[in-house]
């Protein structure tokens, strides 16, 4: 009797276990073919999800790029700075005469 009861309890446990696995599979796919695809997909995406987790810091950096200062244009587009820095040109005396 006890043996029979133990066997029934074991069967019930196994049934519950199998039912839980089936529900997980159903959540991912309804048909065997797509189920395979989903499995493939799940396998395929796992590395991507890892990659996504790795890439997130880089994506954040791309959104907020570090500004690069163009020192050339910073000076050469500033009229006041150029006026202040410009050395007065010494106009050489020209001894030319007539039309060139």
């Amino acid at each position: 009797m006890l043996k029979q009861l133990s066997f029934i309890i074991l069967l019930a446990f196994l049934a519950i276990l199998i039912a839980g696995c089936g529900s997980n599979q159903a959540a991912t796919t309804a048909e065997p073919a797509s189920q395979d695809a989903a499995v493939v997909e799940a396998v395929a995406t796992e590395p991507v999800s890892e990659q996504v987790q790795v890439e997130q810091p880089a994506e954040t950096a791309a959104v907020l790029p570090t500004p690069v200062t163009d020192y050339c244009l910073e000076c050469h587009s500033d009229k006041d700075a150029l006026v202040a820095l410009a050395k007065p040109e010494e106009k050489a005396e020209s001894e030319s005469s007539g039309v060139g």
């Binding site: 200062t69 163009d70 020192y71 050339c72 244009l73 910073e74 000076c75 050469h76 587009s77 009229k79 150029l82 006026v83 820095l85 410009a86 050395k87 007065p88 040109e89 050489a92 005396e93 020209s94 001894e95 030319s96 005469s97 007539g98 039309v99 060139g100």
Partner: protein, 379 residues
């Protein structure tokens, strides 16, 4: 044209941000260093990285345009050497090269001298805040160098002499006729008439009057002298007279240019004895397929046997090998001129022909093939 202030010469405008060339970091073309300290930034910097030859950065992208530019007359100044060669002997070339380096080579033109800055001969500086102008400015580029004759004639700066009708009426600038392909010494113009096989044999020449006329009047005025032209003068004179004989007015001539280096400042300088306006018809010494005319207008050039005496004696020992009354293409075209007012405005009118009495005795030999021995008879 007033010279630019020092700061104006190097001020980069906001418009340069919209120029494709503005997408590149400055140091990519100019060298130097990206540094907030001016002296550090300018160390090793090349102000004009478009100089001809292997170092021309423009050729990196514009290889087709740059391919033959080094041989163009703007880059090589071969037109000057053409005449120096003709009037001298090889033994005198070292002194003439020294002279050339001091007085002539400043007109050597880089890409930047036409498309970004004013030429260095007029002080340089950005024309448009470093924006690269596909079409050079007529006032700040072309006539900055070509000013005393062409610019003044074209723009009507001589008192009492109208400017060229292409400018006055049509508002055409230089590039309207003098296309970029010609300036760049590209074969694009030649391809209009010649096959690829013929192109390999074509010589671009060393003078602006070598080879095909580019530009030519007929390229726009296609019907002149043709079957449908009702102007009998065109039909009668088409290959006898250069267009300018009937359609230009008085233009600039000069006498006796001498060059030397100042003892006081060490700077080169020149002196031209005389500048005046004339109109003379002479014989065409450049007669060929492209210029079949018998008569052309001629202007006096300021070449003198002693032009370069500062650099040596008798450097132009073959002076008479080239005329001093030269084939000319004055840039003051008019529809109606004194010459085309009537047949006898030219025929029988010795005043407008270059006869021997109008040539200096010491230049008679040089101009023997230009002088008109007998003026066409009156009608």
């Amino acid at each position: 044209m007033a010279p630019l202030e020092p700061w104006q010469k190097v001020l980069v405008s906001a418009g340069f941000n919209d120029d494709p060339h503005g997408n590149f970091q400055c140091t990519l073309c100019h060298g130097g260093a990206m540094d907030p300290d001016m002296d550090t930034a300018h160390k090793g910097m090349v102000a004009d990285p478009s100089a001809a030859g292997a170092d021309n950065v423009c050729a990196t992208c514009h290889s087709d345009t740059e391919e033959h530019f080094d041989e163009s007359m703007h880059a090589s100044l071969s037109g000057y050497w053409d005449k120096l060669d003709t009037r001298s002997v090889p033994e005198n070339h070292p002194q003439l090269e020294e002279m050339f380096g001091n007085h002539c080579s400043n007109c050597h033109t880089t890409c930047g001298d036409c498309h970004i800055s004013q030429p260095s001969s007029v002080g340089g500086g950005f024309v448009n805040g470093h924006v690269v102008n596909k079409t050079p400015s007529m006032s700040q580029n072309c006539t900055a160098c070509h000013g005393s004759r062409v610019g003044s004639e074209y723009l009507g700066k001589h008192e009492g002499i109208p400017g060229d009708v292409h400018f006055r009426s049509a508002r055409m600038n230089c590039v309207s006729c003098h296309e970029g392909a010609d300036m760049h010494n590209s074969t694009a113009t030649c391809e209009k008439c010649h096959t690829p096989a013929e192109l390999t044999k074509l010589d671009s020449g060393t003078s602006r009057y070598d080879g095909a006329q580019t530009p030519s009047c007929e390229s726009c005025h296609e019907t002149v002298g043709g079957a449908g032209d009702t102007n009998m003068q065109h039909t009668l004179h088409k290959d006898t007279l250069q267009c300018q004989v009937c359609h230009t007015v008085e233009y600039t001539s000069c006498d006796s240019c001498h060059v030397q280096v100042s003892e006081k400042t060490g700077n080169p300088f020149f002196s031209t004895e005389n500048t005046y306006t004339t109109f003379y018809i002479g014989r065409n010494v450049l007669q060929d397929y492209h210029r079949p005319y018998k008569y052309v207008v001629v202007r006096h050039v300021p070449a003198d046997p002693n032009s370069y005496e500062f650099y040596g004696d008798n450097l132009l020992s073959n002076f008479d090998n080239a005329p001093t009354w030269s084939y000319a293409t004055p840039h003051n075209i008019q529809l109606k001129t004194p010459q085309n007012s009537s047949c006898n405005a030219c025929h029988g009118n010795s005043e407008i022909f270059l006869t021997a009495d109008k040539v200096s005795p010491e230049e008679l030999n040089a101009n023997i093939n230009v002088i008109v021995p007998e003026v066409p008879e009156a009608r």
